[in-house]
């Protein structure tokens, strides 16, 4: 067991974890942060995407011990005082989700993309979301939601 100290969605946690434990399992099983979901186990789908120190990471692709001393944000930590983050709001309003399983990862990746590039072209949005799979929407409205969120931030 290895002791880690990690900040998740603004709260500090100190836990003993097995060195082989994945960050996504730590979030889901230890902290009950089930908003971050597992879709593929092989880092293809991106459903488990979170932010570590503000950058997007597929949390199935990182060990919990690697998060020691770092700040993790999940989809559950985005809303402030009950107000949805602009990207969350855009996904809801643009019908950018159906089953919603890809949504947490898509939102986290979209925020990272907009942090890098506040006014992306459609091509840049598509390139930025390439690592996140959606099976329901055909991506059309997801791209629209990111464009809407970018426009709203201007």
């Amino acid at each position: 067991m290895t002791k880690i100290e990690v900040t998740v969605d603004g709260a500090k946690y100190a836990d003993d974890v097995e060195p082989r434990m994945l960050l996504v399992h730590y979030l889901r099983e230890r902290l009950g942060k089930t908003g971050t979901v597992v879709g593929c186990d092989t880092s293809n789908c991106g459903a488990c995407t979170v932010h570590v120190d503000g950058r997007s990471v597929k949390s199935c692709n990182m060990l919990a011990v690697q998060a020691d001393g770092h700040e993790v944000t999940t989809v559950e930590g985005l809303a402030q005082d009950g107000e949805l983050h602009p990207v969350q709001k855009a996904f809801h309003e643009c019908h950018a989700l159906q089953c919603g399983y890809c949504t947490p990862g898509m939102i986290m990746q979209s925020i990272d993309l907009l942090n890098d590039n506040p006014n992306p072209s459609e091509e840049e949005i598509r390139t930025g979301l390439e690592g996140n799979l959606c099976r329901c929407t055909g991506y059309h409205n997801i791209v629209k939601a990111v464009q809407t969120a970018a426009g709203g931030a201007q």
Partner: protein, 760 residues
Amino acid sequence: MTATGTRARTRGGVGESAARPDGGLKVRGEFAFSSDLWMEGMLWGATLRSPHAHARVEAIRTEAALAVPGVFAVLTHEDVPGVNAYGLEHRDQPVLAHDRVRYQGEPVALVAADHPETARRAAALVEVDYAELPPVTDARAAVRGECEPLHAGGNTVRHVRIRRGDPTASAPVVVTGEYEVGMQDQAFLGPESGLAVPAADGGVDLYVATQWLHVDRSQVAYALGLDEELVRITLAGVGGAFGAREDLSMQVHACLLALRTGRAVKMVYSREESFFGHVHRHPAWMRYEHGADETGRLVYVRAEIVLDGGAYASSTPAVVANAATLGAGPYAVPNVAIDCHGAYTNNPPCGAMRGFGAVQAAFGYESQMDRLAEAVGVDPAEIRVLNGLTQGDHVATGQEVDSAAPVAELVRRVRDMPLPPPTGTDLRSLPGGVANTTHGEGVRRGVGYGVGIKNICFSEGFDDYSTARVTVQVVGDAPVASVHTAAVEVGQGVVTLQEQIARTELGIARVRVETADTRVGSAGSTSASRQSYVTGGAVQAACREVAAELVSRASIASGADPATLSLDADHVVDLSGRRVASVVDLLGGEEVVERTVEWRHRPTTTLDPETGQGSAHVQFAFAAHRAVVDVDVELGLVKVVALDCAQDVGRALNPGAVLGQVHGGSAQGLGLAVMEEIQVVDGLVRNPSFTDYLIPTVLDMPPMQVDVLELADPHAPYGLRGVGEPPTISSTPAIVAAIRAATGLPLARVPVRPEHLTGT
């Protein structure tokens, strides 16, 4: 798309792109998917599966697994208390294998343990002695009776024979072709999962992601040897379905473990296990012959279709019926002879996937329409316009199409949409993308068309109904309507629709849709594009009964003729919109008005066993696609540049949701066209992961132009037409036609792979 013809002015009603009630939870990460369920003290289940496609099971030893600390139970076929069999139409599939395994991945033993890893490790310690048998893998040989029978009754699950007009008709222009469709996976993102909780009354409560709660219940109860009342199923959050959850996966297994251990048991499949844990789209082999006059007008269609159902029947009988009855496509054809067989083999079981039967046949008949266009020298769009079904025509089963069938119009609309700009110079927009595989040399552009037909709702005389319980009561000085059905929300938006219908019919703004469960009557399956139609119809009917009661009370109180009264904005109003009474006053505080309605669409008939003639379908739906592709002919890489669609939806109850279905369905058809296939060799799956089974990414899927027609079907609630499946049917042949146009290659198999294009 506008909201015409309804009387409601209450916002968020039918015809509006109302927001999803679960959308806020889903963007916050607060929506509970079945894999998120948790109960204090619960155990975790794991499944041991057959590594062989076909083998005799000679012995199973569980001692080593039971000896693992933390293991609470290890179960085999001997522990199934009821009948060890399940299945949607034929109960031919063991809950746990007994003396034989018929496919790779067939469940053999179950373990419950206090940790998921312990459960998996213990499952691996269950010792099974197999005697391998040669697998039956050739569906055509299987239906010809050339292989060892895998089930009593032989290896043909079903044969449907269609004979219309003169089956031996001849024509001056004849085109023939053989076509194949590979095995597609639904690839929903949320793997199979659920939680079974043993109850004090000897029953069990199951929380699960599924598509059809009541048929799950009857199968679970049958296997557990329990009365159905003792099996209570509640829908847990569903991470996509697309047909793959219509059959059982872990439902019986989790209940068996829970009842044995007396503890709640959770099961969650990994992605790899998911590939073995659900049915797939039937691979198909098809031989088509089309005869036409010199102008291209169809004289006859003859076809032979073989669908590989794999080891167990699942929904193969219905898939065979769809492929056969829709096998001539959305065209008026006077003479038809089609034979469609569904086979038992030792390949993975195949069953429901979006558009089943119709998807496979469409690749065949649409490929043929392009060959015919070439043979008579007309444009591919024109050949479809010339032969397209219209209202009043008859399909291959002799059934009259008695509502809109705007095939020609749909084709014209996609044909006339603006084309994308010519092949660009930006490397990212070329086939191969940022891999920098070409600077444009060897890249050819092609345009292709596809049209499809789909039956909506269940066919062939099935008693296809849904149940809705609608309640109105006062909560906090305002009326609240509650809608309770067992209709499964898989992402398509039936929860939104139920709210919209209640707002429109009751004129009440505050509507609550209860969690779907088996405490209310069946809603039927979330499949066959049927929930808007059937559960929509049930909710509409139940709301109208509640509304009639409220109007009746207002009429008695006011003396007004009830025919002049309706509900709007929480009041009963007269024809001028003047408020006659408030719903709050009519309910008088504590009272609850509740109505439950079981609603059916008009009946259908069975097919004549000799001729396949009959009015077997409730409604037909049509979509057309135009695809534009760039193909790097040297490397065999395809970039779908545009995939535009026109579809008639009768009436768009939620235009935003309709577009979402068109986008998503088209993307799945794109996947089948150019990338998606479960590769099976000697009955063994070679690519059970998202690393090796590719689905379209955001870069594979182009932005779409979508034209939605609303030609109301007078037989359907609000005039609606099922939406979900048609876009999946026509996008595949359109894309392949575009690749053929770019390359000049015949391309008779999907998915089209690079080696098919380069000849390597």
